[in-house]
Every structure is written in C-alpha cells, then in structure tokens.
Symmetry: C3
Subunit: 349 residues, 3 copies
C-alpha cells in the first residue's frame, strides 16, 4: 500500500497544541514535533535532535525557537541549530527537517511531501468546531491498525448494517442497496438514499423517512459527510438524485473525519459531528456524540481484529465484492498520485 506524501495530514486538534507544550506525533512513520511559537504560529520539525537523537518533543519552547532539553541545542522554526551551549561554531549540517504546517478548520495540518509543492488550497474543506452553522462535538481515537483499513471501512457503509446494527440501529438497507459513486480530482464522492427508514433519533415513534447520506472522501484520508432526513417519497420524487440539503425536514448533520497513518500498523482518527443549527441544539449533539462514540468503538474492535488476522495471514488476498467500488477507486487514486510523486513511491514497511 502506497501513501501519498504530497498531501496535508491532520496531526492534531489545534486546541490540543498549547503554547509552551511541544507535542510528539508520528506521521507515515516519521517522528514529528509540533509546537506553537511565541507569536502563535506553528512549528513542525523532525523529532530527533541531530546531536544524539533525543526527541525534541521533550524540549523547551523559547520564543519562536525550540531547545532540546538533553544538551541544550537550540532550533529555529526552519530546523536549523542556532546555538550549541559552550561551543562557538555550528556545523552546516546541524539541522533537522522542517515540515510545512498550518492550522485550519480546528485541525493542525502537516504537509509530508516536498515543501515547495505545499499548497494550502489542497487542504480539504473540513468544518471547524467554530463554524456558525453547526453544533459540533469532537474526539479522536488511536488504532492498532494501518490507516488503509480505516479508509476502506469509511468508503463502504454496507458495514453499518452489521457492525453498527446496535449502536446506530442501522437497517439492512445500507448493505442491500448500493450508493452512487463519482470520482473527484483528489477523492471519491459517495451518495446514498435510504428509503422508508425509521426516523433517526426517534425510533420509538416508528415514523418513516427517506434519508440521504453523502460524503467526499479526499486524499490523504479525510471524510466530509452530510446527512439529511426527508419525508417518505422524496427519493422517488427526485428520481434518486441528490437532494438540496437545505430542504431537509428532519435531522441534518455534518461530520468531518480524518485518518492519519502514524506508523505502518497504527493510526490516529480525528472526528467531529453534530446537527445543523436549524435542525438541532447541544442536546441533539450530545445524543449524536453518545451514539458515535459507541459506534466508533465497534469499528475499532472490528478493524483491529481484522488487522490481527492479516498479520498472521501471510499475503492472504482480499476477495472484492460490489460494495468495494468506492474503496477500490480511492485506493487506485492514491496509488496513481503516489506514483506521480518524484522518485519511486514510498512504502511504509
């Protein structure tokens, strides 16, 4: 499995990166230290002092610089050593890699490829926690599984009928119908009508609705998803075309989710979800977050178990089904982009 390097990866929730407190993370198996400079701007460096490979994440923020707290080497935000205590000259090779880094939509994004190609226009248009239209909850989860398996999970919602039969109360419709799938320049769009379902959040009323769920799944692994609930018959009336979400009458939600490959066998998963302000308040958000936490624990249980089986099954192949189409499209896109990057595609071990 190749990963794209010329892409923005979510590294942290912006509010978790506090002034004076460097944060360690691995992305694509590379150790990275993030920190907030004295001027509020972000720094992202290789987390490995040139001197003796101590992690800079144990270091001390000094204005716009970061000091290794083993023997005191001081780094600027470009990764250059600007001071070696007790030594007058600094070798030219005394520098670590710096990564383009920026804060957007409540997330810290790190560009893992060539710095010269870092283009903020490629940051996926996630919805930040401060967006005026939505009442969002948020969280993050660590996975003992490779990111690819989580991408695959999120690109095939037929699993809702089984993995989330209890938590989401998802019907078999998710598995027995197939969504509309479209290729995007840097991703895949998936849209699906679920007709005559129980109204979400009020199953006890036995009220029936037509639900529409759609998302863009964007490189390197970002899901941006809308959900809207409509009167029964809407799907038929629209000939199963995508509705205007502003016309939703029942629940309407938005969710941003990001899957970051930390190491070859671990991932970090960031997510927010909540109702459009015209369709729900903090109480609705809290109800949705409760169900979401339960459902995401179900996903993790299944995917980590899948990873363990894969680990003891040398090269056992997958057998694709028709439900895999979006996952296959996205996987092919990632491989194409990886091939197009300078040099041979990088593979995690």
């Amino acid at each position: 499995m190749s990963y794209v390097r010329n892409a923005w990866y979510v590294a942290a929730w912006a509010h978790d990166l506090k002034p004076g407190a460097p944060l360690a993370i691995h992305i694509l198996d590379e150790p990275i230290v993030l920190w907030r400079n004295g001027d509020g701007a972000l720094g992202a460096l290789e987390n490995r002092c040139v001197h003796r490979l101590a992690p800079l994440s144990l270091g001390r923020c000094e204005g716009n610089k970061l000091r290794c707290m083993y023997h005191g080497l001081l780094y600027d935000r470009d990764g250059a050593v600007v001071e070696i205590p007790g030594q007058d000259t600094i070798p030219a090779r005394a520098r670590v890699r710096s990564y383009p880094v920026t804060e957007r939509h409540s997330w810290v994004w790190v560009w893992m490829g060539e710095a010269a190609r870092a283009d903020e226009a490629l940051i996926p248009p996630a919805v930040g926690l401060d967006h005026p239209d939505y009442v969002l909850g948020h969280g993050q989860l660590d996975y003992a599984a490779e990111a690819r398996l989580i991408n695959d999970n999120l690109l095939d919602f037929s699993h809702l009928s089984y993995v989330h039969a209890n938590s989401f109360g998802a019907s078999e419709t998710w598995a027995r119908t197939r969504p509309t799938i479209k290729s995007l320049e840097r991703g895949v769009h998936v849209g699906q009508w679920l007709e005559g379902e129980l109204a979400p959040g009020e199953p006890e009323t036995e009220k029936r609705v037509d639900n529409y769920n759609c998302y863009d799944y964007l490189v390197p692994g970002v899901l941006l998803m809308s959900f809207g609930s409509y009167p029964v018959g809407t799907a038929a009336r629209l000939d199963r075309q995508a509705p205007d979400l502003d016309d939703a009458e029942g629940l309407r939600t938005f969710s941003s989710q990001a899957v970051t490959p930390t190491t070859a066998r671990t991932s970090r998963y960031f997510f927010s979800i909540g109702p459009h302000r015209n369709h729900g308040d903090e109480a609705v958000r809290d109800m949705i977050m409760g169900v979401t936490h339960r459902a995401f624990a179900e996903d993790r249980t299944m995917i980590e178990a899948q990873q363990r089986v894969i680990d003891v099954s040398s090269n056992a192949p997958f057998m694709p089904t028709t439900a895999d189409r979006a996952a296959a499209l996205f996987s092919r896109l990632v491989e194409k982009l990886a091939r197009e990057e300078d040099g041979p595609p990088r593979r995690t071990p």
Copy 2:
C-alpha cells in the same frame, strides 16, 4: 519440531461452546472459529472472512450458518459463502477451509489434517466429565511456551520430585527410579511403582503404601492416567508388574489431559482429574483439584521460564538423560507420523 496434522486436537471444553457464541482458537498457528449450529452440531471454519480477512468469530450465528459481522457475508458449515448482501452472484472461490470437528468425552476435537482421513476411531479414549465411574474436576491453562515442552514435561515424571516437592509432596522416588515404558501404535505407555510411600491425601498418618501410576500418552498430546494405592508389599508380590486397578485399596484416580499447540510459542492445556467413585467423593475431588491447581501452576512457572531461556539461547542443544526415554520415544513417533503425511512435514515457524 514437527507436529502431526492427521490427528484430533482438543479445541475447547464442550460446555464452553454455547449456542449463539462463536469461539476463536488457534491450533497449529491456524485461526479457527468454532460454533454450535442451531441443531446442536458443531462447525469449525478458518477464522478469516474471504472478503477482507475479518475474523468470523466476531460473527452472528444464524441457524446452521455463520454471518461475518463486518460486511455480512454468510457462511454455511462447509465454509461456502451462501450470501453476499447486495450482490447477486457469489464467486466460486468464496469459501474458507472447514475442519472436521466433533464432540466427545466433554471435549471439542478438531482434525487438522486431510478431511478425507478424519477417523473418529483415532480420538483418544479420554474420560468425560459425565463418566459414571469418576467424580471429576476440570480446568484449563494457557501457556506462553510451545506444546513440545509440555509434552516433554508430562512424559518424564522425575520432575515431580523437584517441581512438585511442595504441592504434591512428591518423594525423591519419582526421580530415583525409572518407569516401565512401552511403545503404542499412536503413543507411549508409562507405568511406575512407587514403593513404601506416604499414603496420598493422609501424610499425617505416616501410613505407608505402594503406589502405582500409569498413563498412555497419545498423539497429538493427550495423557490418560490411572493411579492406585495398594498395601506395602504389593509391588514386590506382583514382581513390579502392572496391578489390576480394581484391586486398589487406597486412593484411585483418573486424569485426562490434553496439550494443544495454539501458536509456535503458545499452548492451551486442558485437564480433568478425580477419584473413582468407589474411592472418593466430591470432597476428595476438591482436595485433589486444589493440589492440582497448585502443581500445574508450578509446572507452568518452570516451563515458561525454560521457554524464555530457550528463546535467548540460539540452538543450544538439550543433553538427554535416562529419564528422557519416554519423551524421546514420543518425539520420534510424532516425527515419523509427520513425515508419513502427504507432502513435506509442516513446521510451525
């Protein structure tokens, strides 16, 4: 070390396999799911969905079928996929391996070799928990050690004098005399008189007895052991030949034990033990089980420590003693049977 594949391995206590609750186990490094069908019969499949390698042990029992709860593929008890939700055709290769499986003597047995050669006559004649003649307790233990080391332990009771000096109060006679050993078609028979010992279970009386202990140790790793206590002088009178166990005057017990190689470095150990109904009741059984639990913990401590030393001792050889004869015979038998199996012998990594 080779293991025999054309043999019945104990996979579980039958009562631990409950309707509606699939059970995961590894045998010879292969992931297997066991489940009880709606009709009470057992199923045993490769625990790895053909679709994306999710474990079927997280699945749902549906009558005589088992549904993978990741994306809903449904398997029959032969391992064939009989439904892919939302997809009309099922590829011919959509099947997992199924294993011959049966329930006998309170244990679930799985045949790891060629299905065509699975012969229930080869199931070792263990004594089930419902046997009318015995009052049995039972248990199981997981080992962080390869099965071969446990087999070797059980084939050389000279260790009782040292490992179990406290728990069983075993005298040095176990180590200082050698048992009678006979080859069997699929195992080894070991019998030993221990003369003038303290009467088992009543050391405070200082009463002396002649004890006789014997067992068959059968492929792939099943111990079936009888013990009887006789008046002092019996061994001499019988010229150290095997006694009739029905003539035992003191304690008489039976024990069934099975060692299953789960992975190359882990094993599961199943056991039952207790008095013949004419020689003891539930109270005697509970006393014996108390001592047994303590003794088996002593074995595990020693064998896991031995495994750890082996793991850091690249190819350090064993130095056989005369006490190793039964272990050597059994080991040679296993290697011969493994060689005779079709194709090259399978080795665990």
Copy 3:
C-alpha cells in the same frame, strides 16, 4: 558498539544476594545465576541447565551446590554436574560455564572474559556502604536502553543544565564551560570548576560558592565521583587546578555508580551517594537521596526516549559537539580494549 569482556561488571548489591536465594541476571546478554554458598562465598554460573535449558535460578541451594529444580541435576560451584538423579554416569559435557565472581565495596562483581585473566586488582575502587568516612544512601534502576547511552550521559555533565534544571537546580554553567579531561589507563578523568554558584542544599540563602566536581569513569562503566564546595575565589586562586577535597568548606560528597549492560537494549544502574561524615549526617544524606532519585528519573525518561528514537532511525548518525570529548575518549578506549581481547571483538546484537 563493542563491550569489554575482560572486566568486572557489577551484578548486584551484595546484600541483595541472600543465602538460599539464587538471583538471576543478564550481563552482556548472557543469563547468569548468582548464589551464596553455604560457606558464604559466591557462585556465578550460566543460568541454563545442560539438560533441558531450565534456569538454575529457580533452583535450590544445597550447601556449596545448586540443584536444578526441574529434574534435579546438581551443580558444583565450578559448573560441573555432580549428580543426575536415577542415573549412574555423568557425561563429561555435563557442565555449564562458571564466571569469576567476588564481593567488594558492597557490590557483587562478575568477570565476563577469560577466567584466567580475572584480576581483582582491576576492580574499580568504589566506596562501599560501610565506608567509615561517608554516610551513603543507595539504589538501583532498570533502563530500557543500552548501556552505552547511559555511559555517554554520565560522561557529559553539560546535560545537567537542561535535564536537571529543576531537580538539581543546575545552572547553565555546566553546559557553558568545559571540564578538564584526562585519559586514564582504564578510563577517563573529568574535573570541572563551577564558579560563583548558589551554595548546594541552601539556595534560599543566595550564598555563592565555587564548586568542584570530578570523577573517574572506569571500564566497563563505573563512575567514582567527588564533589566539594569552596569559598568564592578558590577556583581563581588555584588557577582552576584541582583542589584538595579535604579543604572543602561547604558540602562534600562521594558517589559510586555502575552501569551494567544486561541485554542489547536494557541496562541496570547501581548507585550510592552521600556526604563525607565531616560535612553532613543522615539528614543531609536523605536530602541528597531525594534529589538524586528525582534526577535519575529525569535521566531515565530522556535516555529511554532517546533509545526509542534511535530504534526507529535506521543508522541515523550522531553529530558530535565539543561536549562529547570525554564520551568519545571512553568509547575509543573500550573499543581498543575490546579489539585487544583474544579473538574478534564480541558485539551485542
């Protein structure tokens, strides 16, 4: 990194080796069992029974002998098997390696090289807990890091300014000045004046002093360190030469520390420290021990983190600074000694 084999390694605190209780340790990846003979003398054998590789550290002390408690083989203190229960003859190869071992300065020392070259004159002159001139506290710590990284740490005290800025309240002087360094036959001597520092142990008085700190760092990894506090101006008056420690007016301490490579990625660190009896009592010792425990935890946090970065950084080089001189000298000495040993130098994996 090579390690010297013809050297005495600290294996244990002598008081931790109790009669009748064998002790397991690894040194240079070799499993060793230590035990105290019936006559009080020490034994040190390869911790691996020749029979089936069970650890002798689970064995039973019998006078001057040690019995393997798996099947009862009895070893004398030279490592020869002198009894196999139930067997008349003992093969000539029935022996394990024995190591020269001795007790000195409250430590148990094991010679890892050729026994014929074991020379007790090479034992570093550490200060034992019963030394009449010092009031010493002591302890030990296990590290998940290779010994070399701890040696390097102890050979470059510029880290005090950063790692121990809080615990020792160490000033930047440690990092911004360079010590005097001298080569010794089996080590390195490091001495450093720290002028105009806050008086140790009484920072609230704001009294200023000149501190002198010096140590021998001896093969295989033993630090013997003196510290003395003098009136401001003493360093200048002595032209920065080493003072007579008997002239110290403030605090005066001694510390013995030993780093033992247990496996390729783990180490055990033994240490004692305390005031000279003319410069402090048990209360001063306890204050120093409190700070020391806190500081050594800081070292371990940093060094284990450094090890983890090294482990994921294939062959990333160190970039030396001028602060590395003593560490480089010691490292070169160890490599030279290792080369000079008979045969090719032994490397840990």
